[in-house]
Symmetry: C2
Subunit: 421 residues, 2 copies
């Protein structure tokens, strides 16, 4: 298919860690037939964050050039659970959970990838009827040493940590998926290199043209240090609310602005280079970061959501105001704050309505504030200085007036109004 | 079941390399329920030799005490072929070949083991419907390191020789057989120890009482040096003809007489000890060796066959006579020997009828002599001095008279008679 030089550069160079092999891949792009682009996922972790979308955006780019995505639901793998090591105790998902998780994943997946140019396969279509003879045929040509050459296996082997025999099967099962869907190109992170190459090898053994392996870079998380990951908490989820995405993006270290634009936006490379030069020349990174945050929200939600998230951020974080939609807690002066232990009412300056233990307040109003119901957690927030009243740090005792705004952390607010009825 | 002290000693000490564990096995013998004695075989090598019968005799002894043999036909393993190493090129047996081989094996097997107290299982009964989920369940609890601890794997691993992933499955499949047939005791050579222990482990995981592992010694072959094996040619086959068995037994080194009696005969241990003392005191081993040979033939054929084999041996080998049934080649003096290139007729002493090239004679009469049709092989036999005429070594030229006996090797004869018609 005809492809412009600019598209070609974008496809082959932006957001690419490695392609095996580049020349062949280049030739495939010129063919008349749409390419079959393979991408698999494990429905036992159904949430997609920005780190995953680097690859998904690549798929989308190629779809726009006329190619087709083969999405493989690893439902079979998920149902047997992860056998890693000695403690094969991970709960096995039920069929219903797998189905539900897969739907959750796909809802997020199709925020980036074009559903109309995607074919969805479930591994169980072929592994459900895979028998021992198939297993033997699959494993026969591969040696143990070959498998232990995989970096993570090798590390565990060298450290005398257990590797279950079952685990050796996994790369082969993934490779077999490539044979079934007749994959032309498989996509994955650089940590998937071994598995992607297995697919090539197996396809060749089975008389198919070996797939190209397209590896995308690992995205650094919002902490600026580690790989973006849900378990590390340094992630921006595809399903996070617009304000949440926007807020998290704004918390990025400045040196991630340019990499994020490159990997996560459609902005022309030249424009991104200009921003980079501008910042090197002393321009304030905040405006670029806001633009990045807007781009991110617009990708997963809409332009309007992006604009609203920006307005929300400017109002609450930059100007320190409570957001318009902050929940309101009505209380009567005589009653004290409902549910809280009032230490005293009417004390100190004329406007003070109620003064009470900060921990007890957080504990009793955890639901309105979106906190966990835990005095320990509340104490920690107080000691970390995460609680403010009307812009001032709260101590152990909270003095509240009519119209006070309690803020916990960056984005949790509660407005107090006196109930005079 | 009641068991005499003498039977107990025979079962537990004679022809035993190792029992895991002896105490438990001892207790099992006292139970009221017949034990389920498991023994498997690979129908891709259907021939049984004396080395195998050491274990089969053990099964027979236990059958006579009331226990039951579970014979497992490894038809499933055989049909997929041996995946060892890189060259997975061993031809896969067809279903028919496997069936045929299994029948061949069983015909020999039941020369030793009691058919009425044997239940035959085919692996395909369970592995035919074994699916990937079963494979994962089977392999999940076992680690690669555990498998590579097996001596032959370890040796190959240390030498950087390939081990196919499939090979790691084999011990587990054999172990699974134990679970299916609810084996109480599995039998095998000492080289099977790892696999037998796997059975124990898997049974325990699946809630069964772990089987006892009964290992029989490896039998030294007729060369007195290496393990008896078909490929080394140092074997006595269960299906060898009586004269062949007898002759091979007589070729044994003297120091194997006592071990063979212990492992391959029912003679009381005391009697064997007496023979041992007698030989140490200077008695000629030949008589004991003949008795051993007779015992062996009688086990697989009959007492009559054993007596006939002995008579045959004494006539041909000990007295140097041609056996009565030696094939006869009739020839006319004028024609030379039929099919051979006659160099001359009537030459030398009065009785010489024909004189011709020894190699050509062997080549043209290879069929009658049971040789391969090859001049190279014939030349080798001549140069090795393996050809005699009337008790004298033959040179390059063979001088034949009416009634001459040509002998090739130890047991091939051809009698020449003049056709005067």
């Amino acid at each position: 298919m005809a492809i412009s030089q600019e598209d070609l550069r974008t496809v082959m160079d932006r957001g690419v860690a490695e392609i095996i092999d580049r020349n062949e891949f280049r030739k495939l792009l010129d063919r008349d037939k749409p390419l079959r682009l393979k991408m698999g996922f494990d429905p036992s972790s159904p949430d997609i964050h920005l780190g995953h979308t680097v690859g998904l955006r690549k798929l989308r780019q190629l779809q726009e050039l006329g190619h087709k995505v083969m999405l493989i639901v690893g439902d079979w793998t998920a149902q047997i659970g992860d056998p890693s090591g000695v403690s094969a105790t991970r709960p096995v998902l039920t069929h219903e959970q797998v189905q539900e998780n897969a739907q959750t994943y796909m809802t997020q997946f199709f925020k980036v990838v074009d559903r109309d140019r995607t074919e969805v396969f479930w591994q169980s279509e072929w592994f459900g009827k895979f028998d021992l003879a198939d297993v033997v045929r699959l494993t026969g040509p591969f040696t143990v040493a070959q498998m232990l050459a995989r970096e993570d296996f090798r590390r565990r082997w060298d450290a005398n940590r257990p590797i279950a025999i079952t685990e050796l099967l996994y790369p082969l099962l993934q490779a077999y998926d490539s044979v079934v869907v007749e994959s032309d190109v498989e996509f994955g992170g650089t940590d998937q290199k071994f598995n992607l190459l297995m697919g090539r090898e197996l396809q060749e053994m089975r008389g198919q043209r070996p797939q190209q392996c397209f590896m995308v870079p690992i995205l650094v998380g919002t902490d600026g240090v580690q790989k973006m990951s849900k378990s590390l908490g340094n992630y921006i989820g595809v399903d996070d609310a617009p304000e949440e995405q926007y807020g998290k993006a704004l918390s990025l270290p400045d040196d991630l602005i340019i990499p994020y634009f490159n990997l996560l936006s459609d902005l022309p490379t030249a424009e991104i280079d200009d921003m980079s030069s501008a910042m090197e020349g002393g321009a304030n990174p905040m405006e670029f970061k806001k633009r990045l945050a807007r781009e991110i929200v617009a990708t997963f939600w809409s332009e309007e959501d992006a604009a609203a998230a920006q307005a929300h951020f400017e109002q609450t974080v930059q100007r320190g105001e409570a957001p318009d939609e902050a929940p309101t807690l009505w209380f009567a002066r005589s009653d004290g704050v409902s549910g809280a232990v009032a230490v005293s009412s009417e004390q100190g300056g004329a406007k003070t309505l109620v003064s009470l233990s900060t921990v007890e307040f957080l504990y009793h109003h955890h639901a309105e504030l979106g906190l966990s119901q835990s005095r320990t957690a509340a104490k920690r927030l107080v000691s970390q200085g995460a609680v403010e009243v009307d812009g001032q740090p709260a101590g152990d005792t909270l003095s509240l007036r009519d119209g006070s705004v309690v803020r916990v952390g960056k984005r949790r607010y509660l407005r107090l109004l006196e109930d005079r009825s």
